[in-house]
């Protein structure tokens, strides 16, 4: 039955990383503010990310109001609309999702799940957060800069990003945006080094790679990808700063800007697009892979069943990670690049559907005949699977050149990427918060408020984005603040736009319920105990809840099994934590 001989008496050397001394805080400041403890840094990351995320949420409200009721909200100018749109996209993709999944969940869960006392470079980890905060502040400051933030669209395509017709193009907006991104990348690289080296180096005794929970696999692979993909954005940002500030011509062709011949000459906008999407497409999976990993753990825990096809899940994560570096130009079918490129990239894009489909099937098969508890984390996980499939299917359309060309730059694209990389990962974020909040605070989140939040968010987002597919198919372009009286726009589009706006307002308001729940439950939630979900992974086996500094007590745990021993026949309970040695009564286990 086993390839490994269980030899309980054998001496097992301790798994402490001896060279790295655990950092000990001495004052309130170093404990809670300039803390080097990954758990505090995680909460700082998450708090900052969610705060700026709420700004992006309000921006989306304003955009929707303009789109739904252009006459009432005529005071939102076209320029303001472009600025809201740009900031909304940039914040959501980078400052919220990337930071929350890797900086927030990565920091909290990696050391706990692999059985480490902390990250291996705690000081660098702290710096990572403070540089991230600086990046966010620079981003926020662009709202108050003369000319306002940039309105170039979240892709910041040159030449329009730095010409005077674009809001912020010839003033501070674009400069602050680029500087903020550069800071973010520097900060992230510091954090990312930590996540990778901690997973590789600080795993406790017995925690082989194939015993890691899939959450760690997802975050780990995403971090490796981010470390290799973010340099492309870095290069693009630095080169665009050269163009904007020193008048170089990396991306800027010779052009006439507002009747004036510009000083630029001979740059290539296409080069920017290659660099940007070389980062931009892996970025989709940088957000998606942690979500995949977390969802696997949520489903397995709350269906009381081992994850179906663990090996396949791991391989799929790695294959998706590798493939995502060779699909970037499917964002550029209409950019005028060499047509045969499009053929190549359409093929790789569709190939990536194979490992992704494997994951979806495995989630469904994990649920099959499971003891499904419809807890809040499970509800969000189920909603994620459905939403991800829906969003993924429209991706198959857009991945094909011939279908993409007419649909490109319509609301169909907006609906697609919001479903697949907006709503789907955010649902996982919520599920993960409902799942791990009891560990972080020691109290459960309120169930009733949680259910209201879930149903309004889940159904509401469908009311927002399903009609948007139709609007896109009719041919309504994206990034237009208002449609006006155009012959090809049927009246149904206007009605739907109003409907979507109202749905968006309601869904946004539901997030306030969630925020209230988060704050209220810290004091008034039901005490959770150490392991409320009866889960197997190491973070639920800590010395106390919330986990103390150093995570585990005097001795680090030793791992004897994989992370998914749920409902094992013959075991006294329906779960066996990873650090429980083989039980003597368990000989009959097959």
């Amino acid at each position: 039955m086993t390839d490994v001989t269980p030899q309980g008496t054998e001496f097992i050397p301790p798994a402490e990383v001896t060279e790295v001394e655990l950092y000990h805080p001495h004052s309130w400041w170093t404990r809670y503010v300039f803390s080097q403890d990954a758990k505090v840094i995680a909460i700082q990351y998450a708090g900052t990310a969610m705060s700026i995320g709420f700004v992006a949420l309000v921006l989306s409200w304003l955009m929707r109001l303009k789109l739904g009721f252009p006459d009432t909200f005529s005071f939102i100018s076209a320029d303001a609309y472009f600025q809201f749109m740009t900031m909304h996209g940039m914040i959501m993709v980078i400052y919220l999702l990337t930071a929350l999944f890797l900086g927030g969940f990565g920091n909290y869960l990696i050391p706990l799940m692999v059985g480490a006392r902390d990250m291996v470079f705690p000081y660098v980890n702290m710096l990572s957060y403070w540089i991230y905060l600086l990046a966010v502040l620079v981003l926020v400051s662009s709202f108050f800069a003369p000319g306002g933030p940039t309105g170039a669209g979240w892709t910041l395509y040159p030449p329009q990003a730095i010409t005077s017709g674009t809001p912020g193009g010839s003033s501070w907006g674009i400069i602050l945006m680029l500087i903020s991104l550069i800071l973010f990348i520097i900060g992230f690289t510091m954090g990312g080094l930590n996540y990778v080296v901690t997973v590789l180096q600080a795993r406790t005794r017995g925690m082989t790679l194939m015993r890691l929970p899939l959450t760690v696999w997802g975050i780990f692979t995403a971090t490796v990808m981010a470390l290799l993909a973010f340099p492309a954005l870095f290069v693009a940002c630095v080169m665009m700063l050269f163009d904007r500030l020193i008048g170089a011509s990396f991306f800027m062709p010779a052009m006439v800007d507002m009747g004036q011949q510009s000083a630029h000459n001979g740059g290539s906008p296409l080069m920017y697009q290659h660099l940007f999407w070389f980062f931009g497409h892996p970025e989709v999976y940088i957000v998606a892979l942690p979500a995949f990993g977390i969802v696997s753990d949520l489903i397995s825990t709350h269906a009381r069943k081992n994850i179906f096809g663990y090996r396949m899940m791991v391989w799929a994560i790695i294959v998706i990670g590798a493939l995502s570096f060779v699909v970037w130009a499917h964002h550029m079918y209409v950019s005028g690049m060499y047509p045969y490129f499009g053929f190549f990239f359409a093929t790789t894009t569709l190939i990536i559907a194979v490992p992704t489909a494997i994951k979806v099937y495995n989630w469904v098969l994990t649920l099959w005949r499971g003891d499904i508890h419809l807890t809040l984390p499970m509800l969000f996980a189920l909603a994620f699977i459905i939403t991800f499939i829906n969003g993924g299917l429209s991706g198959l359309f857009l991945g094909n050149v011939v279908v993409d060309v007419p649909l490109s730059d319509t609301m169909f694209v907006v609906a697609h990427f919001h479903m697949v990389m907006g709503v789907a990962p955010v649902l996982v974020v919520f599920g993960a918060i409902y799942h791990w909040y009891p560990k972080i605070t020691g109290r459960m989140l309120n169930e009733t408020l949680g259910r209201i939040h879930f149903w309004v968010t889940f159904l509401g987002t469908y009311m927002i984005f399903f009609p948007m597919h139709y609007i896109g198919l009719v041919g309504i372009p994206r990034r237009y603040p208002e449609l006006g009286d155009t012959a090809f726009v049927p009246p149904s589009v206007h009605t739907l736009n109003e409907f979507i706006t109202i749905a968006a307002l309601v869904v946004g308001a539901a997030q306030l319920v969630f925020l209230f729940n988060l704050l209220w439950s810290i004091r008034h939630g039901r005490p959770a105990g150490d392991n409320p979900w009866r889960a197997t992974t190491l973070e639920w086996q800590t010395a106390g809840t919330p986990p103390p500094h150093g995570n585990f007590g005097k001795e680090l745990p030793v791992v004897y099994r994989w992370a998914y021993d749920y409902s094992v026949p013959g075991a006294p309970e329906d779960f066996i934590p990873q650090n429980v040695p083989d039980l003597p009564t368990q000989g009959s286990r097959a």
Binding site: T2, M210, L227, G247
Partner: protein
Amino acid sequence: MSVIFIFLALLMGFIFWWLARQRVMSKPWLEAGPVTAFPRTEAPAIHPARLGLGVFLSVVGALFALLVGAYFMRMAYADWQPAPMPRVLWLNTGMLFLASLAMHLAVQAARRGLADELRLALAAGTLTSVAFLAGQLVAWQDFADQGYFVAANPAASFFYLLTAMHGLHVLGGLVALGRLDARALRGSNTQRLVLSAELCATYWHVLLAIWLLLFAVLLGWAGRFIDICRMLLS
């Protein structure tokens, strides 16, 4: 973009080779018990800082691969005019080479416990690195005197961009090296400096290698080399 492809292919080849040694074909659900039978799959015993530097250098490698990739992409346009390189770059290359050599000697000295030699080698490494940076500034001056300002033409812009990026990395390395210098001057036990010296030396060797590649690219040698390869292939 082929440059970054080659870089990533090499990196991924290494990652897959390493993963293949981690028993990714095992069936963890059948394998309860301690895993002392497979020590290879446990966390590796090397120092975290070494691994950290390795990961960081991969990121730096990706950064420069992308920069060089952008350079080649721009070079392929019809209006590309190469710019003559300042001669002082040859001297700078020599300086960086000496710095790398000095760092190598510093590691040797630290390992043997020779405190004075260590200090001498570190001082030589620091000074030659500073000389390299100063030389790069002189090169910028020369280049500007020849009429190639940053915005003069794409080749000039790339020259400033590439040298600035590389120079910033040297500067960052000098911060770490400065701390090592201070510790060596305070006369702490050389055994405790071995790791830092090795880390600095690795960083310097890689920066030298990157500079040699960049220099070859800027001189146009790399472009000619690729043309020859292309002729051989077709």
